[in-house]
């Protein structure tokens, strides 16, 4: 259990290679966008981060349901791991989006559905962690965390729809673009390649980090059990 699994080492290497390749592709392979200039290159990693942030939110909900059904502590470790990762990735997604928006929308921030929803997601992640911090009994902490993750994952789409009813200026790059969206652009084939490669890279990176975070979580669990045993 302690030794690092061989497969994880391989995954680490693959992730590192893919990250390097993605970074090189963004700077050297992707063409310069005609209107927005270099800042458009932020977009590739920005979307990838937001995607991972959302993915981990869904995983947190699934882990919550799985925990309540099986009462197996490993699902709690998965839940905590994915929430922590999601919080980091979503934060990067929000900040990079803001940096992109400053020159393009002429403002750091607008209250459009995606920005608002991701911010609320981040707040739900934070609330999840604060809830866990306030509970000492590991079993109850796991149960409450699972319940809150489920409630959160259901409320987020509703939040999105509730704000969607207002007009949005966030560009829809994939699918039918909103004509009024400011800062939207047509992707050339090269841009598309870089875009999808970054998405895949960061998804792999997410699973690699998850594995590490789960190992850390089970170590933390062992230490906690040791402490409980000794204090008895």
């Amino acid at each position: 259990m302690d030794a690092k699994p061989r497969l994880l080492t391989i995954l680490d290497a693959v992730t590192a290679l893919m990250m390097t390749a993605a970074t090189i592709m963004v700077f050297a392979y992707a063409p310069m966008e005609a209107v927005m200039g270099p800042v458009q290159k932020v977009f590739y990693f920005h979307v990838a981060h937001s995607w991972v942030g959302m993915l981990s939110f869904v995983v947190a909900g699934i882990a919550g349901i799985a925990y309540l059904r099986t009462k197996n502590m490993k699902w709690d470790i998965v839940g905590l791991a994915t929430v922590e990762l999601g919080m980091v990735f979503m934060l990067v997604g929000i900040v990079t989006g803001s940096i992109w928006a400053r020159p393009i929308w002429n403002t750091w921030w607008t209250w459009d559905p995606r920005l608002t929803t991701t911010t609320i997601m981040e707040l739900i992640y934070a609330a999840y962690l604060m809830l866990r911090q306030g509970i000492e009994d590991p079993e109850r902490r796991a149960r409450f965390g699972a319940v809150y993750a489920i409630v959160g994952v259901i409320s987020v789409p509703l939040t999105f729809f509730s704000i969607r009813i207002f007009r949005t200026i966030h560009p829809v790059v994939i699918g039918s673009g909103d004509a009024g969206a400011e800062g939207s652009f047509d992707m050339t084939p090269r841009m598309l390649q870089v875009f999808f490669f970054s998405l895949i890279t960061f998804t792999v990176f997410y699973f690699d980090l998850m594995w590490h975070r789960i190992r850390l979580g089970s170590l933390a669990q062992r230490v906690e059990q040791l402490k409980l045993r000794l204090s008895e």
Partner: protein
């Protein structure tokens, strides 16, 4: 049109944020792992003695 806008500073800022945050997170993972391992060892020793 006068070509692409000069937004180099923002691009650099964006990628600086991305790599800094990821690096900090990775370091935090390593540090937490080490601290927990130390704690585990100490606790196991205490357990053996008692």
């Amino acid at each position: 049109m006068d070509g692409p806008a000069n937004t180099m500073v923002y691009m650099i800022a964006g990628y600086a944020v991305i790599f800094t945050v990821l690096l900090v997170y990775l370091i935090s993972l390593v540090i937490r792992w080490r601290n927990l391992r130390q704690e585990e060892e100490i606790l196991r020793e205490i357990e053996k003695k008692s």
